[in-house]
Amino acid sequence: MTRRTGRLRPAGVLLLVVILAAVPFLLASYPVSLGGRILAFALVVVSTDLLTGVTGMPTLAQVGYFGVGAYSAGLVGIHWTDNLIVQLAVGTLAAGLLALVTGVVAVRTAGIVFLMVTLAIGELIHQVADRLDFLGASNGLVGIPAGTLYPGGEPLILAGYTYWWALLVFLLGLTVAYVVAKSPLGLSMRAVRESPTRLRAVGQSTYVVRLVAFIIAGAIAGAAGTAWTAQTRFVSPGDLAFSVSALALLSVVLGGAGTLWGPAIGAAVVFLTRDWLAANYFTGHADLLLGIVFVLAVFLLPRGIAGYQLSRRSDPPHSGAAA
């Protein structure tokens, strides 16, 4: 299966950023806050793609590290400072550290075993969030104050402002993911995906490559978590449930694994389907709608949303995907 990092024209990217930034002027406050949450989820999905699509390590743990970032930011907000930049730093660091500690053992496995180990990690983090009282247990973490950008600054209460913060974090995280993908590490990650044995045969330890990728992805997911907390001011264990992990992974496949931007769009499609389309028009049938989207995507978009984009340009005939 030939994967290409989707090439985006800079003008198109700029236009997209401008449109995204204009959202608070175009929509009412509830859709805007939904947009903020979509951006946070999309960043989690991008981090999932960094592992799944770029490194060939499908994972179900990213939502766990997202949760670590979200809860950390919430705890910082309640007990220490409402400064969003501090929360971002702490959340990213905490998630990255946990990714390091868990990754050291998890990355020793591969394939479906690795998938199940990451499932276990995600679920264990979920259970911890559900049970620990100082995290609010099953009621979730409440009482998180509105964030500020600088000491003594105005708290960001309006949905539009928190949305812009979420957009900023999203763009930052996406940029980091892109920079990594274009770096020598990114090349090593793609080599691990294509043939770990070959990579070892040229003298490179695949374990180290995968571990570094795992840590970076975990940190990005943590950053996404802090954006989520800034937007919602509430973290619930339900946000870390297995179903969310599954949706994150499926968003990657829907969007086109390996392209980074495709999965971001896939994330938006999934989140909108579940939290807007189903919630407003087909209450209680979110699963049905999502299921239909997924099944259609498998047959109509063999290389995901991003793949569909690519195939409309002139593609060399041999780069067909093994659908």
Binding site: I112, V128, L250, F294
Partner: protein, 295 residues
């Protein structure tokens, strides 16, 4: 002896759960081991069996009625399995199989919820097994014992078929070397489709038999799928003996483990799985003839 006395019933519950999990999980394991297909619709297939129980069984059902229900579940399972095999045959990428089968599962789950409602539906055990049996001075539901016995019988039968019959040899050969089997004129797709169908039939049967123990409700398919995945991965993909061991372990963790360590209940299952996988990544009893995964 005192400890055993106190925990005997719990352990029996663990075995009953193991019996059900084995029936449900063995199909998932075989399908992955032979076809390298990750079938995430397996949970909803099992739930279908449970709802068949809801539809066909009532407290007055006699032996005949129960057997009819079992046959109906198995037959519907065969059909579902064949359909799933056909639908996934064109999709060779694991991730896209996951997308497809989970999508189907979500649609089917919603449909079942529409038809049977979102409440927990109870499934009565058949009348002739409705009572209790005495074990070491305690009374224990006869139905659960029957489930354990039946599952053992089916497990042994499955093992014998796979190891001692020509059909079983064909399946094992297809796992070991698919191209060679096709070279001697066997339509390997039919063989593998058969494995898929039988695996699904066992899952629906398991779902039906689990009805009186677990009930039937939307969302149960996800729970069952998760448990089955854990069983399969702990035991070893593609291995029947592995599925047995995995099921027994998961059964005990979910019953005895929870009863002995109630504070850690939510962590036991995945903690145990993580430990097993990190020590033995291929599972505890990996298939002897390879997992069939393509190079």
């Amino acid at each position: 002896m005192g400890w055993l006395d106190a925990n005997l019933l719990t352990m029996l519950n663990g075995l009953a759960l193991a019996a059900l999990l084995f029936l449900i999980a063995v199909g998932l394991s075989l399908v992955f081991g032979t076809m390298d297909v990750l079938n995430l619709a397996h949970g909803v297939v099992s739930l279908t069996g449970a709802y068949i129980g809801v539809a066909l069984l009532d407290p007055a059902t006699g032996t005949i009625g129960f057997i009819v229900a079992m046959l109906a579940a198995a037959a519907i399972g065969l059909v579902l399995g064949a359909v799933l095999a056909a639908v996934t045959s064109g999709v060779s990428d694991h991730l896209r199989q996951a997308l497809l089968t989970l999508g189907i599962a979500m649609i089917a789950g919603d449909v079942l919820g529409e038809v049977f409602g979102s409440d927990v539906r109870s499934v009565p055990p058949p009348a002739f097994l409705g009572g209790s049996v005495e074990i070491l001075g305690r009374s224990y539901p006869a139905y659960r014992l029957a489930v354990i016995v039946l599952s053992l019988i089916i497990g042994v039968a499955l093992f014998l078929v796979l190891e001692r019959t020509k059909a079983g040899a064909l399946v094992r050969a297809t796992v070991a070397d698919r191209t060679m089997v096709e070279a001697i004129g066997v339509r390997s797709r039919l063989v593998l489709g058969g494995v898929f169908a039988v695996g699904a039939a066992l899952a629906t049967l398991g779902g039906l038999l689990a009805g009186p123990v677990l009930g039937a409700q939307p969302g149960l398919d996800n729970t069952v799928l998760l448990l089955a995945l854990v069983v399969v991965v702990i035991g070893g993909l593609g291995s029947i003996r592995g599925a047995v061991l995995g099921a027994v372990l998961v059964g005990q963790v979910q019953t005895l483990g929870v009863s002995l360590l109630p504070d850690l209940a939510s962590f036991l299952l995945f903690g145990a799985m993580a430990v097993v996988l990190l020590l033995k990544p291929a599972g505890l009893l990996p298939a002897r003839y390879g997992t069939g995964a393509r190079a």
